[in-house]
């Protein structure tokens, strides 16, 4: 039995999410077929306090906002975006 191939995505964290996670960018390995929701769960597993922001944080894949069901591809850039406050 062979393990399913894994994919690697680049994760960018901003503002309070960046401070909570303690990093600005990091590479994550996920199982092939993983979706944005799986990545979110991996992030929460690494920093449980992130769960408090689940209702307000949005994920963008390659610059486009997505929901939790977006399938991820190797090399995708996933940005974790807290509520914006420009202006």
């Amino acid at each position: 039995m062979t393990a399913l191939p894994a994919i690697r995505v680049r994760v960018l964290a901003f503002a309070r999410v960046r401070e909570l996670l303690g990093w600005e960018r990091q590479s994550f390995e996920l199982r092939s077929g993983a979706r944005t929701g799986d990545l979110w769960e991996a992030l929460v597993a690494s920093q449980p306090r992130l769960a408090d922001l689940a209702r307000v944080v949005r994920l963008a894949v390659n610059g486009a906002l997505t929901d939790n069901a977006h399938p991820l591809q190797a090399g995708d850039e996933v940005a974790v975006l807290p509520p914006v406050s420009g202006g």
Binding site: A15, A60, P83, G86, G87
Partner: protein
């Protein structure tokens, strides 16, 4: 059309000049300025950061919407990033249009949409206590919302 994120002081006069033209009888501008107070607390400065490629793309989309909604309008919009002191300009919008109603309306549309959906974040620094990230709204909204 100037759409930019910059780390140095915004030249608001140059921005206004960049949109002016002979077909436009109105020029409306907006500047966001760092306030010394926020919800009763004394503010010493602000720090802004952005997801730069997505922020620029979203600002370009807003500019395209302004062009589509307000015929013959010309828009420029610049947001500052990094550390800002009280009194400095954090964002500037300039719109030239044939008449004032469209110029005012387009300028307001552009700054309202920027605040609602462009991925830029503001950290307030206070005279006392820990700095705090601010929020303009509950969610960065979809661009077609």
């Amino acid at each position: 059309m100037t759409i930019a994120l910059v780390h140095d002081a915004i030249d608001t006069a140059a921005l206004a000049r960049s949109v002016g033209n002979e077909a436009c009888g109105a020029l409306a501008t907006f500047q966001g300025v760092v306030r010394a107070q926020s919800e009763g607390r004394s503010v010493t400065g602000l720090f802004y950061e952005a997801y730069v490629p997505m922020a620029l793309a979203e600002m370009e989309r807003i500019a395209a919407e302004v062009r589509a909604r307000f015929i013959d309008s010309h828009l420029a919009m610049v947001h500052r990033l990094g550390e800002l002191r009280v009194g400095e300009v954090s964002v500037a919008v300039a719109v030239a249009a044939p008449h004032r109603a469209e110029a005012f309306e387009a300028c307001r549309y552009a700054i309202d949409e920027l605040k609602r959906r462009v991925p830029i974040w503001k950290l307030e620094r206070y005279a006392e206590g820990a700095p705090a990230w601010r929020e303009n709204c509950l969610h960065p909204a979809e661009s077609d919302a």
